[in-house]
């Protein structure tokens, strides 16, 4: 299978690898996928106001899954939560030139962003109530 140059670049030099403190109220964590499906993505955001000031990821999956999540962190850094939620998997497919069999990797990355934002929002809602 031939990978696009951009997939190889993200695979070899993944951006924003790491973990943020998942218990911090300003951090949202999204974990999507399942080991038996061959891919699990963990994407975390650090939020100030409504802006994502930092993002980190760790991914178990094929090269395209690693590249999709690496690209996702690159894109959401500096964006508002709403802007991040507007990112669609098709944009990732296009940017990385993913073949049809790898589209699910981009879907997973989109889901990971949404899950992280959702986690952050529910934490904030919980704080507001408390």
């Amino acid at each position: 299978m031939a990978y696009s140059k951009k997939v190889i670049d993200h695979y070899q030099n993944p951006r924003n690898v790491g973990s943020l403190d998942k218990s911090a109220p300003t951090v949202g964590t999204g974990v999507v996928g399942a080991p038996e499906c061959g891919d699990v993505m963990k994407l975390q955001i650090q939020v100030e106001g409504d802006r994502i000031v930092d993002a980190k990821f760790k991914t178990f999956g094929c090269g395209s899954a690693i590249a999709s999540s690496s690209l996702a962190t690159e894109w959401i850094k500096g964006k508002t939560l709403d802007e991040a939620l507007a990112i669609q998997n098709t944009q990732i497919v296009e940017e990385l030139s993913l073949p049809p069999v790898k589209i699910h990797c981009s879907v997973l990355a989109e889901d990971a962003i949404k899950a992280a934002v959702h986690d952050y929002k529910s934490k904030q809602a919980g704080e507001a109530k408390a």
């Binding site: 061959g38 991914t59 999956g61």
Partner: protein
């Protein structure tokens, strides 16, 4: 050292230069049709084919007359299973095979099911092995055929062929074994092992691609098959078509070399394999051997590197050519059916790599490969949320994952 290092000897092997040399005259000078009875060109070709038949028969303890030339193991399997099923359908319609067989066997079995045959797919044990007891328990009065491989192509596990063969002969059931991976690696003797039909392929034993054989027993019992290709009635009427003389000569030479060099070569590849295994297991945590440590091919090593996905791992050591049991590397979206049948766990199936050691593998190559693999696993585990969890003491298996697909 030539890069990438070839470590996929179960997929195919290069032709041995001695094989190529033996083949060459049969393309240009001795190009006759082995079926031409009226002139020297034909006689030369026929003589070459008969010599090859003897060389092949000697490797598996057969009579040369029991060797049927085919295009390779897939065709041999089709001929053996469909040919026997059609011939003996009146006796019964039950066939026994195993879930970890090669797709060539499983797909033919499925085809036969559509034709009204009933197939029992035995589940191997956790090491990929099928016992004679399991076969005995599945036998029925209407069982006509047992089809079980000698050695598994993914994990290298060897089945107890002799016990299974003896059982089949005692019960009057035909026994077919796919020896594509075993021939030339471990001793094969169709008499002592009670085998009725057996296939092997040239390209797995340093011979050419596109040529193989089906061994068909001629006595005790005499096996009869319905031909799957009609034509000039070549090969005792079982496989029509002009014989591929150069390739047959090459297969013969490859079998001769395999027979003569097997003891030394198997010891050498096993030592290299053990060295690779030892390095991987001593330098990494969370690694698991797939297969049977005691009963396996000398040249096979199949390992699951937990918390790292196989395809990304292969990308990480592009200077080593290997195969993965992960779904992503193959055309299908399912991970290896062999590892699944062994109940290895889908997560570990996705993390498996098969290393194949062969005639031309050197110690230097093994050390290079080990270094690359170990480095790639360590790097990818830095990226792995599952490894992070494992280090925190959370077994990812206990997490309630929201599966997407």
């Amino acid at each position: 050292m030539k890069l990438p290092i070839y470590m996929d000897y179960q997929a195919t092997t290069p032709c041995d230069p001695r094989v190529v040399e033996a083949m060459l005259p049969y393309f240009t000078e001795s190009f006759g049709n082995a079926a031409s009875r009226n002139h020297r060109y034909g006689w030369e070709a026929e003589e070459a084919v008969e010599k090859a038949r003897e060389q092949i028969a000697a490797l598996i303890g057969a009579n040369p007359k029991e060797i049927v030339f085919t295009s390779g193991s897939t065709e041999s399997i089709n001929l053996a299973l469909k040919g026997a099923a059609e011939m003996y359908a009146e006796r019964g319609k039950h066939i026994i095979t195993c879930q970890s067989e090669h797709k060539a066997v499983l797909d033919v079995a499925k085809h036969l099911e559509q034709q009204g045959f009933e197939v029992t797919y035995l589940q191997p044990d956790k090491t990929g092995r099928v016992t004679a007891e399991a076969v005995a328990a599945a036998l029925r009065p209407d069982t006509i055929l047992v089809a079980l491989m000698w050695a598994n192509n993914e994990v290298g596990t060897l089945n107890p062929v002799r016990e299974i063969g003896a059982l089949c002969h005692a019960k009057g059931v035909l026994f077919f074994t796919d020896a594509t991976q075993a021939a030339g690696k471990v001793p094969v003797d169709v008499e002592a092992d009670h085998v009725d039909m057996l296939c092997l392929s040239g390209h797995k034993i340093y011979g050419p691609k596109g040529v193989g054989i089906l061994y068909v027993r001629r006595k005790n019992p005499r096996v009869r098959l319905v031909a799957q290709m009609d034509g000039g009635g070549h090969e005792r009427g079982m496989r029509s078509g002009t014989l591929n003389v150069p390739s047959i000569v090459g297969l013969g030479k490859a079998c001769e070399l395999a027979r003569l060099e097997m003891p030394e070569e198997s010891a050498r590849t096993a030592a290299l394999r053990d060295h690779l295994e030892q390095r991987i297991f001593s330098e990494l945590d969370f690694v698991y051997l797939n297969g049977n440590r005691e009963h396996r091919l000398p040249n096979n090593l199949n390992v699951s590197f937990a918390y790292v996905e196989g395809e990304s791992l292969i990308m990480g050591f592009s200077d080593v050519a290997v195969s993965s049991g992960s779904a992503c590397t193959s055309a299908s979206l399912e991970p290896s059916h062999v590892l699944r049948s062994m109940a290895v766990g889908e997560d570990l199936a996705h993390s498996s790599i098969r290393f194949g050691i062969g005639r031309y593998t050197t110690r230097e190559e093994v050390d290079f490969a080990a270094k690359q693999v170990i480095g790639a696993v360590k790097r990818l585990r830095e990226l792995s949320p599952l490894y992070e969890m494992a280090l925190e003491g959370i077994d990812p298996k206990t997490v309630n994952w929201q599966a997407h697909h």
